[in-house]
Structures are given as structure tokens and as C-alpha cells.
């Protein structure tokens, strides 16, 4: 190797070194540390010294836990699939409505963004007040109509569904925003051609418009889907530790938080986090694969 080559090799490494260091410090180290924790029996402060090596025991414990882990995994999947479906369907529908300018369309678009810029904890607090079974506005209306009060967030049978509704209320605007951006780049001609050929509105949307913004929808689905899988704030804000007294809204994230900070079971919590990480990764790869198959 000539001196020149060596110098340029050195320069190359020098140039990428800062980025490399940042990645190692901010991404690789925490993941590595978590994996390491998951293989130990850590259940106390990190300062107490290394905990005994436990091998895959934490993973086995998690996978055997039919009381908390599996139900939480189930709820995480239900939450993600249902919330994402509602958000995509509503988001695309509303975006199609808002696509053409009309009187007040700017106002409508602005109002639509309000939930998006509100903190999920504030959203949780506001809806808890509205939906409170004893004093909330919603239940005052319901009982004024002579109906039984509904424990939207307090009844263990409804809580998860209500939170899915809140998630949809907050995040549908994001899908609208992304889809609107996609629609803005779509030319009018193909639709006009379809119109001339006698296609109905639904046919035009289904066979002309949607296929043209397919990639945009995939982006929205992946972004929102991964986010929904990881939802923590609104669940914790409305249901507190353990996702409620019967763990009725406990998703994997809420479970891991409780294991870490209520029980100090950092080893077990890390193992579940690693399993969760794999789940998110698999889901993301699956969605991207499926949707880019024949594009």
C-alpha cells in the first residue's frame, strides 16, 4: 500500500469516525446493554455491581408467563392492528375529501392538526375528564338521555377499545397529512381519462387514485404502525401502572415499564424488550415487503 493510499484510507475513516461514534454511543451501546441485561438476573441498582449471569432464563420466564406477558402481547397486536386500520381508512377518506379546495378548506386543515400537536398525556387527561363515569360531560349527556352511564376508560371490557379510539382521534390527522402530500403529487389526467371512460367515483378512487399513492400509504402505514406498537404515554396517562386494576390495557411497553420501575426486575424487563424489538423489526420488514412486492 502506498503512502498516498494509506493517507486516503486514514482520511476516509477520519471522516466517518464522528458518525460512527455517535451511532455506537447512541444506538449500539444501549441495545447491547439491554441484551446484556436480559441475560442477567439484575433486580436492583446498576451500581450494586454485576448481577449473576442467568442465560436465557429471563426469556423462558417471559414466554412461560401466561398471566401478563402473552395477554400483553395480544393487546399490543390488537391495539396496533385496530388503531392502524381505523387511522388508515379514516385518514385516506378524509384526505380524499380535503384534496380539492373548497370554502374554508384551509380552516378545516388547520383544525385537523390540533390533536396532532397536543401532547398525548394532555390528550389522556382531557378525555379522562370528558369520559369520567361520574362527572364527565359524555356521561352527563348519556344519562340525560335516560341511558346507563358507561365506564369508557374505567370498565375493563371497554378500556382498551376506548384508548384505541383516542389513539385514532390523535393520529388520524398524521395519516391525512401524509396522504394529502402524496395526492398533491398526483396528476389529474389519469382520473379525467377514467371519468371520460365512464368510471364511477368509487371505481376512480379504487383503480386510479389509490394505486398512484400506494407508496405514500405504505409510508404512512409503516410510520404509524411502528409508532402504534410502541404506544405508552396515552395508555399510562389514562390507566396508570399495569394498565388498570385487571391489567386490561397493559401492552408490552406498559408491562416492561412496570417490571422495571415498580418491581425493579431489570433483567426480565430487558428480555421482554428484546423480544419486543424483534417483533417490531419483523412487523416492519413484513409490511415493507408485502407492500413493495409488485411495485
Amino acid at each position: 500500500m502506498s503512502t498516498l493510499q494509506r493517507k486516503s484510507r486514514l482520511l476516509q475513516w477520519g471522516m466517518i469516525l464522528p458518525a460512527l461514534l455517535a451511532i455506537v454511543a447512541l444506538i449500539a451501546f444501549p441495545i447491547g446493554y439491554t441484551i446484556n441485561l436480559s441475560l442477567t438476573d439484575t433486580s436492583g441498582p446498576a451500581s450494586a455491581g454485576p448481577a449473576p449471569f442467568a442465560g436465557l432464563e429471563n426469556y423462558a420466564d417471559a414466554l412461560r408467563d401466561t398471566a401478563r406477558f402473552w395477554p400483553a402481547l395480544g393487546r399490543t397486536i390488537v391495539f396496533t392492528v385496530v388503531a392502524l386500520s381505523i387511522e388508515l381508512i379514516l385518514g385516506i377518506a378524509i384526505a380524499l375529501l380535503l384534496r380539492k379546495d373548497f370554502r374554508g378548506s384551509m380552516v378545516a386543515r388547520t383544525i385537523m392538526l390540533v390533536p396532532l400537536v397536543t401532547s398525548p398525556v394532555a390528550v389522556g387527561a382531557i378525555w379522562m375528564l370528558i369520559l369520567d363515569p361520574n362527572t364527565g360531560f359524555a356521561n352527563t349527556m348519556i344519562s340525560a338521555m335516560g341511558l346507563d352511564r358507561i365506564g369508557f376508560l374505567t370498565n375493563p371490557d371497554y378500556a382498551l377499545w376506548t384508548i384505541i379510539g383516542l389513539d385514532a382521534w390523535q393520529w388520524t390527522p398524521l395519516v391525512i397529512l401524509i396522504v394529502l402530500a402524496g395526492l398533491a403529487g398526483v396528476p389529474d389526467e389519469p382520473e379525467e381519462a377514467a371519468l371520460v371512460d365512464g368510471a364511477s367515483t368509487s371505481q376512480r378512487i379504487r383503480f386510479v387514485t389509490l394505486p398512484m399513492i400506494r407508496n405514500t400509504i405504505v409510508v404512512a402505514a409503516v410510520l404509524r404502525g411502528i409508532d402504534a406498537l410502541k404506544t405508552f404515554d396515552i395508555i399510562y396517562a389514562t390507566k396508570g401502572p399495569g394498565g388498570g386494576s385487571s391489567n386490561e390495557a397493559e401492552t408490552l411497553n406498559v408491562l416492561v415499564y412496570g417490571l422495571s420501575f415498580d418491581y425493579m426486575e431489570f433483567g426480565l424487563a430487558s428480555a421482554i424488550l428484546v423480544l419486543f424489538f424483534v417483533l417490531v423489526l419483523v412487523a416492519a420488514v413484513f409490511v415493507v415487503r408485502q407492500s413493495t412486492r409488485d411495485v
Binding site: P45, A46, S47, N134, P241, S245, F261, D262
Partner: protein
């Protein structure tokens, strides 16, 4: 002035360096003469807040009082202290909840050397039972600041209208709750915590009054005895039949406002909420409408908990150990404890309790209830283990089954098995 390239780069590097260094400071207002006091959002903190300038002036220091909800405070401590934080100085903590864990992890400073020699401070003045939970052998890791007893709050006016007397037994309580429940006017007969983990402490008084306990004296699980099942059933029945909607999700944060809005006839919880329930401007309940009585008696008598619920400790890693102790000393001095007690926040000093003036600020029935409950009280309100959080979730399970009207016996048996398994693990954790 125009900067040349070298000057500009030099300046930029200085700025970047300064930013990086300040970023390493560990967050918050670590610098300067600031004493960080972390506290729960609690009547005691409200009381001390107004008096801080006095301490600040005397010691020429700024006291930064950071308030959190109890659970958040606990989480904050475990994360920050695990990471050896040095900018936490004085810490308000729950000896019965986090105490064993904190002491085991060596997170708290031994205050014995500072306190023992000080005759004016008089460490021996603190109630023995209260000191027991903040000590390991002769080491003193905390100074109790708040003691709490479980009491029955009731609306005198509503009981008068219904023509019933103050419930003295659990049966009386159930009858009264039934008579006071009035769906038409939106009044519920009784409210108590229903949120699984939070409810455990309030349930403890029921457990003791029915002649049961979380554990036997030899440390074995005992939550499926007939007495325990009867206690679970009573607590659950009361809430299911006469409690507010959604009670399973309720702790004091939800119940206090309902009581303040006049929707609750009776409320069993810690006495410390008394001032909150009648706070002017927030509550529609007037002081003379609020009665306080001892916990109604079960088959084994009236046995409420009577516990040192909060204490002050100093972070073992603090850089301001002396100043922190000065603060603890000031906040728990005989005069301060007396004044707090007169304001409705009961402390743990024997001399204050013996002082006839210490309860002058509160009504007669409240005073009497405090005396009786202190006498009959049990010194803990949750299982005494290392992982209290997990234990509360386990022993709270049958409570939820009872509130939902499910099979309490089956739930208690399952919980008993889980609790026994947990205790085995927990004992290993303590190295016992």
C-alpha cells in the same frame, strides 16, 4: 470588529466545549448554592413550602422543592439513584414502600452520627414504632415526618337526614352505605380506593379488623384464610354495591374531587386528607359537615393501620451532606413538627403528641379519632417485603375480584399461591 477564520473557529470550539461540559452536569440546577429537595405532592409539602424562606435566609441557600406524585417520585428515585445521581439532596420517601430497598442498595446516608449528639434535637423523642422502619441496627436512614391512620370520613349532614348514627361496626357501615346511596341525587354511600395496588394499604385495616394479616408471624403468606376472605368480600361488596362508578380505577386523586363535589357520603382513607376534603374554594363540603370517626370494628375489633407514611432521608451520594442534614433537622425540629400537627399533618414526635396544644387546630371528633387510632393501630399497611410494588399487585388481586363480584375464595387461593412463591424469591433477595 471582524473575526478572522482562526478566531471564529476558536470561539466556536469554546462555545461547543462549554455546551458539552454543561451537558455533563447531570441536569437540573446542580450548580450554585441550591439544595434540591424532592417531595411528594402531599399536605406536608404544602405546609413546608411556605416556610422555606426561613431556612433559605438562615443558611443563605436556595431550596429547590421538586414535587411529584407518589409513584412518579418512587420511579424518579429508582432511576436517578441507580445511576448514582449526586444532585438529589434531601428526599421525602415512604419507609414502608421503598425503605428496605433503598437501605439495601445503600442509597441513604446514615444520619445517626449527626443526630445522636444533638440534645436539643432529641432523636429519642421520635416514636419507637416509627423509627423502627427507618433504622437498620443503630444506623438511622430517615427521620419520620408524617404518620397516618386509617379513618372514616363521613358527611354529618347526610347521616342526619337519613337518621343514622356513625357506623361503629362493619355491619353498621354496610347498612349506612346502603341507606346513604341515592342514585337520584348522584350520591354514593361509600368510596374507598379501588385501584389494585393503591387499594392495598386501605384494605389492610379491614384485614386486621377481621383478624387476618398479609403474612403469619413466621413470614408465610396468609391471604386465603377465612378471615382474610371475609375482609376481601366486605371491601369488595361495599364498593361494588354502594361505591362510585368506575371505582376499580380510583385512588385518592379521583375520590377526593368526588367527595369535594358532595357526591360521596362516607370515605375511608388516611386522616391526612382531612384538610383537602374541606379546602375552601375547591370543596363544596363545609368544615362543619365533615365528621371523622375511627375505622368501624370487624370481628377482631377496630384495627386501622397507624404508620409512619413518609420520612426525610439524605442521598448517600449528595455533595451537600451537611446542608442536607441541616434541612432535615430544621424540618423535623420539635417546633416545626408541632406547627405541622396543628395544621393537620401529624408527625412522629412523642413530645408533640403529649402536648395538649398539638391538636388545637382540628375538631374534637377528629382529635379523639387520632388518639383511639394511634392506640389500636397496626404499624404497617402493606406487606413488609423488599419488592413492595410486586407484593401489592399480588395481594390486591382478590380485592379486584371482590369488587367485580367474582369468586373471592378462588381468587384468594390463587393469590395465596402466587404470594407464597413471591415471598420465597423476595427472601432470597434480602439474603435472609
Amino acid at each position: 470588529m471582524r473575526l478572522n477564520r482562526r478566531q471564529f473557529l476558536g470561539g466556536a470550539a469554546t462555545v461547543a466545549g462549554a455546551a458539552a461540559l454543561s451537558g455533563c452536569g447531570g441536569g437540573g440546577s446542580g450548580g450554585g448554592n441550591v439544595l434540591n429537595v424532592s417531595a411528594c405532592n402531599h399536605p406536608w409539602s404544602n405546609y413546608i413550602k411556605d416556610l422555606l424562606p426561613e431556612f433559605e435566609e438562615e443558611h443563605d441557600v436556595k431550596v429547590q422543592l421538586n414535587e411529584f406524585q407518589a409513584d412518579q417520585l418512587s420511579t424518579m428515585y429508582s432511576t436517578r439513584l441507580s445511576a448514582n445521581a449526586t444532585d438529589l439532596d434531601v428526599m421525602m420517601y415512604r419507609p414502608l414502600q421503598e425503605g428496605v430497598q433503598f437501605m439495601r442498595n445503600e442509597w441513604l446516608l446514615d444520619l445517626d452520627a449527626s443526630a445522636a449528639g444533638d440534645t436539643a434535637y432529641d432523636l429519642a423523642d421520635f416514636q419507637e414504632a416509627a423509627m423502627e422502619v427507618v433504622k437498620v441496627d443503630s444506623a438511622v436512614y430517615g427521620i419520620p415526618i408524617v404518620t397516618e391512620r386509617e379513618v372514616l370520613f363521613y358527611r354529618k349532614d347526610l347521616l342526619d337526614v337519613a337518621g343514622i348514627s356513625v357506623p361503629e361496626t362493619m355491619e353498621d357501615l354496610e347498612d349506612a352505605a346502603e341507606m346513604l346511596t341515592d342514585p337520584a341525587s348522584g350520591v354514593f354511600g361509600i368510596a374507598m380506593r379501588g385501584q389494585k395496588a393503591a387499594a392495598v394499604t386501605q384494605f389492610s385495616g379491614f384485614l386486621y379488623s377481621y383478624g387476618a394479616d398479609f403474612m403469619t408471624e413466621s413470614g408465610e403468606a396468609s391471604i386465603d384464610t377465612p378471615e382474610a376472605i371475609a375482609a376481601y368480600t366486605m371491601y369488595g361488596d361495599l364498593l361494588r354495591n354502594y361505591g362510585p362508578e368506575g371505582v376499580e380505577s380510583m385512588s385518592t386523586e379521583q375520590i377526593n374531587p368526588l367527595f369535594q363535589q358532595g357526591k360521596i357520603a362516607m370515605f375511608i382513607d388516611a386522616e391526612v386528607f382531612w384538610s383537602e376534603l374541606i379546602r375552601e374554594g375547591t370543596s363544596t363540603v363545609a368544615a362543619d359537615q365533615l365528621g371523622v370517626a375511627p375505622l368501624p370494628a370487624g370481628p377482631a375489633g377496630s384495627k386501622p393501620y397507624s404508620v409512619p407514611s413518609w420520612a426525610l432521608a439524605v442521598n448517600a451520594k449528595t455533595t451537600k451532606a451537611d446542608l442536607s442534614w441541616e434541612f432535615v433537622k430544621w424540618a423535623t425540629s420539635p417546633d416545626m413538627v408541632l406547627a405541622a400537627q396543628q395544621a393537620g399533618v401529624s408527625g412522629a414526635r412523642t413530645s408533640v403528641w403529649e402536648n395538649p396544644d398539638s391538636l388545637t387546630g382540628i375538631p374534637e371528633d377528629f382529635q379523639e379519632t387520632l388518639r383511639v387510632s394511634t392506640e389500636n393501630g397496626v404499624g404497617y399497611d402493606r406487606p413488609r417485603v423488599v419488592q413492595v410494588g410486586r407484593a401489592r399487585d399480588i395481594v390486591g388481586e382478590p380485592l379486584i375480584a371482590a369488587i367485580r363480584g367474582e369468586d373471592v375464595t378462588a381468587a384468594a387461593q390463587t393469590a395465596q399461591a402466587n404470594f407464597a412463591a413471591f415471598l420465597e424469591e423476595d427472601a432470597t433477595a434480602t439474603g435472609e
